[in-house]
Amino acid sequence: MKEPYKHIQSAHCENGVTVTLLKAQGFEFMSEPLAFGIGSGLFYIHIPLIKFNNGPAVSFRTMPGRIFKQTCKFLNIPYKTKRFRNPAKAQDFLDGLLSKNIITGCQTSVFYLSYLPVEYRFHFNAHNIVVYGKENDKYLISDTVMENPTEISSEELNKARFAKGMYAPRGHLYYIEESVVPDVQTVKSAIIKGIRRNVRDMLYIPGSVGGVTGIKYTAQKIRKWRQRLGERKAGQYLGQIVRMQEEIGTGGGGFRYIYAAFLQEAESYFEKGIFSETSEDFTKAGNLWRDAASKMAGVYRGKNTSQAYFNEIADLLEEIFNLEKSAFKKLSATAKQIKQNRF
């Protein structure tokens, strides 16, 4: 029942690692949208006052590790996760797992992953990869955002696993030793739990900077940026949002499409058409995020830097806020209804 290793490409790294690890256990039904939905991957936060790379600290993702952990938890899959103080011990532990043919998820910093293009290698510590073997001094890597598997020297992998700074991985690794495939009922309940948790994250997080209200908060900020920061700096700030939003493995627009795909897939477990309206809403939200990114590009390319244009961008974000708020409210009602009917 256990499958040999197979490389799977995904839009988001942690989804990909989750799917790879579960498929290796024989979970044929597992897909990226399903992992993303059960793991409640959709999120937004704009942390005020803090600057990140000299720009606004916005994030479109939940805490690293959350998608994997929550997917396993909701599907009743026993998983193990470990962090280390000592890099040598961390390497020994990983080698031990690989010698038992257990493929392992590792949290790494992209700065040290030499197989990625230089332009992408910032000090970003929440990149997840699959390590599936070791040959001499090379680790065999399945980086799920890449088309093909690759490899990396043990020295580089150790550096990447012990990078410092925000979200420092401290050798973080996770794996599943042995698991039975859950029945359909468990999958159904996991889907509902994932949806309800995501509703909570996006609608009911306290304060005005996280969840859908965070999008509105950013919109309000954008209206003021031109005057407060000047055109050049404001353009850089917008550039930072676009990079956070659309770059590999993160994703604003991209994430909405994955979520829409998840709702489509979820229908096959319940009744047809039950999520079609909300799925359509998230497709629209994804389109709007991409429109917003295109507009923001207009500013940092110097094509249009008028205040009216900044207001248009802010208006778009407010439209997204309204759309996603109503979509999650609908979703909440549907999930409640399904739960009451006991699936």
């Binding site: 839009a11 293009p117 659309e246």
Partner: protein, 139 residues
């Protein structure tokens, strides 16, 4: 986004990989598709690098003009800031800021220099003497 709307622009990923996206097909079902890149985000990335390269060049000049020590230059070149360098070296922030001073830098022990060199993935000799070469973000 429909399948035919997925951009296929030039990007830094070309020659490395293509990105996976979820797109809607004619029948309204989501499936995956590959993209070589999107102009909007590659220009955001290029802009960010233009900014960084300016900072690196400014740092190089400040070392040549004896305003800052090479530690400062290599910090900027490695895309770090003082707090990240602090986590990597174990020095306090105020110590690192002192080490940015060229006079203090010249008196530093090899042991301390080695700590910095290891983090920057260079030799102590390179840390002390390599600054006059033309700069480019490599490794």
């Amino acid at each position: 986004m429909k399948r035919k709307e997925l951009p296929q622009d030039k990007s830094a990923l070309n020659g490395y990989t293509r990105e996976l996206h979820y797109v809607k097909d004619e029948d309204g079902v989501y499936r995956t598709a590959l993209s070589t890149g999107w102009e909007v985000k590659s220009s955001a990335l290029n802009n960010a690098w233009d900014e960084i390269n300016k900072e690196i060049e400014a740092a190089r000049l400040s070392v040549i003009n004896e305003v800052k020590s090479p530690i400062y230059y290599f910090m900027v070149k490695n895309l770090m800031n003082v707090s990240l360098l602090k986590s990597y070296t174990g020095f306090y922030k105020f110590q690192i800021r002192r080490h940015f001073n060229p006079k203090t830098f010249r008196k530093l022990s090899d042991k301390k220099l080695q700590k910095y060199a290891t983090v920057f993935n260079i030799t102590v000799d390179e840390l002390k003497n390599s600054i006059k070469k033309p700069t480019k973000h490599s490794d």
